[in-house]
Symmetry: C2
Subunit: 301 residues, 2 copies
């Protein structure tokens, strides 16, 4: 699983930081979380191919988090995309897209998954390889965070152990690998438990922005391999964070720690922080496995 | 007058070319022609301050020419802009902006100048220093081009000539410089004609995209100091240019030549041309004073 932050600015871009978007590639599918202005350009710069994007998850309808949808959808259409695209977002987004003048001769289907304002949490997207869950957060307007989690994979096949139990045929090896029990020609039954190593823990990734610290953020971050969490402000602006519906870096770290997450990437920095290191330092006092997200860097989980 | 191309791509951006926008600074005012996605970022990179932007002129409502408005207006609002902003565009744009969800707690007034589909030509904006005229073009959808022209300035004061006619006082020099006649204490009258050099020809700049060659483009380009003209295609795709409502580089050059323009900048290149030089070469056969617009370069008129 590869996570690439495409933009780590908050409301306004700076010369060095772009508007919010984050790409996650898991297996053959790429998904985007948020899609600020310029996302299609950042994707090109990051080598993220728009044809592989299966779904886009929008956290809330402040422009810095979704204005890039328009250009990206246009480009998909101009490239004659055929594959359907899922867009999960607060309900109002669909009206907005429907209201665009003269733009979209759609070549593909958009599956809108609209979240109503009373939405609390639930599964919103699923592929063969992973699920995405949404959960309401606590911002100035209705906002949700997301959690992408791999489906549990069967363990590795211990070929020697299988042979020792009399397995010789390819179809039996394959069935065992897939978690099915088999009956050999000898009449003996072999169960997958006997020949599979323990399943690896599913990898997971939480995307939590924009929000005050809340139950929803902790729920999304539970035991996550990686949490991308907003850190709009530092300690000195904790009151302002509360007023504007944001988190400080230290609060993000507290969410990561209390939810048992493995690693924390901070982003969504206020333009006042030309250097994010002071925010990282504050967060590390609470949760040492913290870094500032670097745009276009590939984080492997 | 400074002209800065911010984006020279056509429908889709490339790694090197951004979506259409062009900034012109004349005196204290900056205006934008088109505002593709990412324009606010390109402005930062070019050193064009959004607080100085007095007006934005949109040619037509294909997304690549206006999706950047959303982010730019948001940033102006977040920066607590007070100064009114004029937006000149086809009528439908206003409905689109009005339909934005939860975005705009406007801190400033937008003066919409909506152009109806039967618009042909006319003055659409004016400052103390210049006028902007719009003229219908010939694209797949209703589209207009623009011409910015300085107001005629009085000539320079020939101080020696004025002294020779008996002028000695500052108020009289100033009045003559401003084009007024004065009566001296001696009773003699001095007229500005006698002491001012000839007015310099007003500088002018035409922005012509997206269009087939047409009467409107020639009208806008008449005697212009600089014409920025689309050159989406080269000779080999002349038929495709016609079908899609665009111009070839050679056709742009023919417009510049027949309208008596001084200089031609080509832009709005199809992504198929990684290098625009072949387009420039074709155009120079017709109009030698042709260059490919370079993004973020400052062209002085």
């Amino acid at each position: 699983m590869i996570v690439i932050p495409l933009g780590t600015a908050s409301a306004m871009p700076t010369k060095k930081r772009h508007l919010p978007a984050l790409a996650v590639t898991a297996g053959a599918a790429t998904v985007l979380f948020d899609c600020g202005e310029g996302t299609q350009l950042r994707m090109m710069q990051a080598g993220v191919n728009h044809t592989r994007v299966k779904a886009i998850f929008i956290t809330h309808l402040h422009g810095d988090h979704y204005f890039g949808l328009l250009g990206l959808l246009s480009t998909m259409m101009l490239a004659s995309r055929q594959c359907p695209l899922t867009i999960v977002a607060p309900n109002q987004l669909e009206d907005f897209l429907d209201g665009l003048p003269t733009v979209f001769d759609m070549t593909f289907t958009i599956r809108h998954v609209g979240l109503p304002e009373n939405f609390s949490s639930g599964l919103v997207f699923e592929t063969d390889g992973f699920t995405v869950e949404a959960c309401a957060l606590d911002h100035r307007v209705f906002a949700v965070g997301y959690r992408l989690e791999e489906k549990r994979r069967p363990g590795n096949l211990d070929v020697e152990a299988a042979r020792a139990l009399g397995v010789t045929e390819f179809v039996h090896f394959r069935a065992l690998k897939r978690g099915h029990r088999v009956v050999l020609h000898s009449g003996n039954m072999v169960t997958p438990d006997a020949v599979l190593t323990k399943s690896p823990l599913p990898r997971s990734m939480a995307y939590v922005t924009d929000t005050r610290p809340c139950a929803g953020s902790k729920h999304l971050a539970r035991q996550a391999s990686l949490v991308y969490h907003e850190a709009t402000f530092g300690d000195a602006f904790e009151e302002r964070a509360q007023e504007t519906g944001h988190s400080t870096a230290r609060q993000a770290a507290a969410v990561a720690r209390s939810s048992g997450a493995k690693r924390l990437l901070l982003g969504h920095f206020s333009a006042r922080y030309a250097d994010a290191q002071p925010l990282v330092n504050e967060a590390r006092e609470v949760f040492p496995q913290t870094e500032a997200a670097v745009e276009l860097q590939r984080y492997e989980i």
